[in-house]
Assembly symmetry: C2
Homo-oligomer: 156 residues x 2
DNA sequence: TAGACGTAGA
DNA sequence: TCTACGTCTA
């Protein structure tokens, strides 16, 4: 199933399969996987609702990426000035992910940094945002956390 | 005349002519005009000396770009946090440009922002750094200024 | 590791 | 206008 609103698509992208690898964020945009050049959370308007369409988890925040079929994603914001962290706000991508809780599939792209400083990304399929909550980051400021589970894995 | 040190070249780039236009900074790198993805000042080591090879003037700082054959270029640095500007330091590109004063030609790329927010760049030929001095920016902090004149224009 | 006249989307 | 899990060079 795939829902489209302008260039924003919920669900799989035709021609892109789990495990497909990429080297640059701009490739994700060109192929339609993730429509943000830097931001980790992409979203669009669907019938008056703002819903998340895809996320990139590549180590920029304190995510929990230890499991193969689930992850805990950290919301964005609050670190514009690393020396003066702020509470994250329920806006933009954070709001979109919250609206998507138990509602629509979200594409997950996992990424990592190589020894030489370059990066790689790969499409990891559709996940459901199971729940979201607020926590405290290492800096003591409020951050949003999103429990995401692979659709089709045990428990879904 | 062209002096080469590794990938750093002083002087014209074969195949690139004055007026040649570009849309993205990465094009300038690919064609060899300017070896910095974001920084406005490119430089290299030439016989133990650090010399400037090219600059991009595209509106990021308070340059004086009113003349066709000369310009006053502002050094870089001091604005990492726009809310807390700092004095510019005589290092990196600023030092390179100072070392190049009345010494070696520097490629000038002029750029501007279009109405739709995109940018264009064009190669504007070789200039000589005539002199450099320190001044105060609008924020009151020290900035470096570089008087650059087109080589071959009246006065050169 | 830090700095940089980027780049696209909201 | 501002934000953003970028990208490259030194």
């Amino acid at each position: 199933i795939s829902i489209k609103s302008g260039k924003h698509v919920i669900g799989d992208i035709p021609g892109v399969e789990i495990g497909d690898k990429f080297h640059y964020r701009v490739e994700l945009i060109l192929i339609g996987l993730h429509h943000q050049i830097q931001s980790g959370i992409a979203y669009g308007h669907f019938g008056g609702k703002v819903l998340a369409t895809s996320i990139v988890a590549s180590g920029g925040y304190a995510d929990d990426l230890h499991s193969k079929d689930s992850l805990i994603y950290t919301g964005h914001g609050g670190n514009a000035n690393p020396k003066d962290p702020q509470d994250q706000k329920l806006e933009r991508g954070n709001l979109a992910l919250k609206n998507s809780v138990q509602k629509n599939p979200v594409r997950v792209i996992r990424g990592s940094e190589l020894v030489d400083g370059s990066r790689t990304y790969f499409y990891d399929g559709l996940y459901m945002v199971e729940k979201c909550w607020q926590g405290r980051g290492a800096h003591g400021k409020l951050v949003f956390k999103f429990q995401m589970n692979r659709i089709g894995s045990i428990g879904n």
